[in-house]
Symmetry: D2
Subunit: 250 residues, 4 copies
């Protein structure tokens, strides 16, 4: 492995799984199960193990985006992978795309988008959210995400590029929709997320009034299926509403 690579160190303690996100470097990494000299990983590959000074063994794993979802610092409820997935496939985000994301929040959506798209520009007006998302994005290794601090509508005159997809995850999405249409390439998509019906209605009305076409709103109810010796059944918990996703096209 190389200096700067980010890894997941996975182990068990007292019968429970524990995970740490660490960077290959010449520094040492402190865990409650001992200190690890991170330069040892220069001679290792994912799948190998590394041992702390307390002789505790950790499996080295390549960091993947679901690990980022699990380990990022949170300032609020981030968008769930299922909803991010619906946005990606309903707008067709791909590795040639430049994506604009308004309302960075914790940065989870931006990091997922960054793992798929060529480049992501993301705006966050709240200073605390901006700082946390910057930390998340830097420490978890996304280098094609440009995080901007500021109010999107105020900054819009300074934006002089066009985007393939624009994503909105912010309380005032309905007000922002009209500003997005001219920033989208022909055939490009808008995807706006909201937990509430009232906000979703504002988004729909704004999209209809802004000459967006092919407007639709979906909700994904995800259920876990439980497999036990007693039998197979949809799990009786952990289901729930997250939000409504409105997709519109230019």
């Amino acid at each position: 492995m190389e200096i700067g690579e980010i890894v997941l160190l996975k182990t068990e303690y007292m019968g429970k799984s524990r995970e740490y996100v660490a960077t290959v470097s010449y520094d040492s990494f402190h865990t409650d199960l001992g200190i690890i000299d991170m330069d040892i990983l220069l001679d290792k590959e994912p799948g190998d193990t590394v041992t702390s000074h307390l002789n505790h063994e950790f499996h080295i794993r390549k960091l993947r985006t679901p690990d980022i979802f699990n380990h990022a610092k949170r300032t609020g409820a981030p968008m769930m992978p299922r909803d991010i997935g619906i946005i990606i496939t309903n707008t067709g985000i791909n590795k040639n795309d430049v994506v604009l994301d308004v309302g960075t929040g914790t940065g989870i959506l931006a990091m997922y988008l960054g793992s798929v798209a060529k480049r992501v520009v993301t705006y966050e007006s709240n200073e605390e959210f901006f700082k946390v998302s910057r930390k998340n994005i830097n420490s978890l290794g996304s280098d094609n995400i440009e995080l901007r601090h500021g109010n999107f509508v105020d900054e819009i005159e300074h934006i002089n590029e066009q985007f393939d997809v624009i994503t909105l995850d912010t309380v005032d999405a309905g007000k922002i929709v009209p500003y997005t249409v001219n920033l989208l390439r022909p055939g490009g998509y808008l995807a706006a997320y909201s937990p509430f019906f009232e906000q979703t209605k504002q988004i729909r009305e704004a999209a209809d009034n802004t000459n967006f076409i092919e407007v639709s709103t979906v909700e994904c109810i995800e259920r876990n299926i439980s497999f036990t010796e007693r039998g197979t059944r949809p799990a009786s918990s952990r289901v729930g509403h997250t939000g409504f996703i409105t997709i519109a096209r230019t």
Copy 2:
């Protein structure tokens, strides 16, 4: 635009939207609304219009993956975008990944994966499905998908690379699961799709017996939300079960 680029030509006829997928070339493209000389598009950009010899006007759009989903030839029910989205985000498929896909079918999943990942290898044993998916993949322009005709389990000894993610969409997924674990990179993911409980149970049992970890099965119930003058409500139709997605990790 350039020779070989694939575009969506969009128009209206008798009050209804019509779309055609065409390739920029020195050939002419025949529609029931007139013939279009495709080399005219060499001087055009997405967002421009082009006119047929019957003077009918078409909007030129960049082809995006949802267009591929809508226009691909079908040999059966393809996986739906929402389920593909859940696979992408729950396994973290990204532009550095090499993905193995068993059971090409119509090729929809492979083409979505190809739009996101670095490279996709996909196996189809049924000759008719193989031919249709080859036509889809060629005509819709995915150049990083390697489509192989053959039974995956028979061919497995010839596969000497490792994958970040393996996807299964085939009736006998339960039998294939044990063969996948050694083809996955450490920390890589298996995603197996099945419409039926019985098959899903076989997949789960195989995953548990093959030392996969973090095994879970989810189902996504997608609902359209309808906005009319009478009011806002979940749509009373077009909801429905598609399949169960089992995710497991090495």
Copy 3:
């Protein structure tokens, strides 16, 4: 059987099931599979068969409420059995109850309520709906339902009894809620049904402003499970939203 009893006559024709609702009487009953002298049923019991003059055989069945749901004339979409069931069990409607129902519609809800409760009073302001529901209620044999033609709010001063449960299935339910609280016995329930969010919100606001307690709103998503040789799965169709049910108590 006795004169006046209503039966279901069930047969098969060309491989398909056919059902007729008929009344035991001294008249003859005309079907496209022949004429039946209905007084023959005076010597029959449910489970027996009766033969038409064309020698076609019909099974005699006791009419049950789901048959009423299937055979009643419709003026619009009636409330579905699942939603009626949720109203019955969440309000505890039982054979000692007197129930007020506002917005008779086709009369399906009233007939279900009449099959369970001691007495039902139901209001319909629309003349056509009133006529159809009267025909349904008379021909399908509910004798404890008092169907009144008129606008409930206008008529309210003439209502001088109290009810155990009041059900509302009408566009202006939000406006009616405040009038219901004084017609309910202590501990009695209001159940208001609406397909739309906007109406449901009006109902909630009215209930909160009228000192109703224990207010909640639920939606029931019913899925059919399909069992075939290929496997078991939630059916891919016939799922859908019907409406939101708001329950409140005095």
Copy 4:
């Protein structure tokens, strides 16, 4: 009110609602908020209040079936009101019906059925469940429920009446189905409940092999809708699977 009537006494303490189920009698009723002489209620009506010796005031409410659901002793997860509602309306249980219920459990289903039907016969083989359900049924005042202790299949030769509806809520429902068909009146219904797919499949296979007709299986996903100042949304918790309900007819 009269001796023997069962009431709900409702009050608030420390800002929280508290409820007690008590019987009008010449005894005193002990609560942690004081002792109530229950014969005082002989001069009261539902809607009045009664005061404990500690001067704490309680509202007197008529007991309704949802109160029984909330206050009955539990030996396991009882069937939920929504599922009971679906059984009642899909089988058309009404005040003229005699219902057989196999697998009493806590007695919740039997008590709901008893509140609607003319008479209910219910079997429980487990002695502890039998005792708890007997206590529930006696103390909550259902006088048309005949609770029998014993294994239904063993006892079947002693059953010499016919039923309009038979309900099954027991692990071995699949084995019991064949015995029920001869106990049902023509046109009568079987309703079998199971949380698991495997059991539901056994129920279906048994129903198909026993000449039941019009067999269908449904699942009801109930969602709470949340109304707050921030907006309206399906609640993010308390959704979930309970069980599959199979309905079949003779």
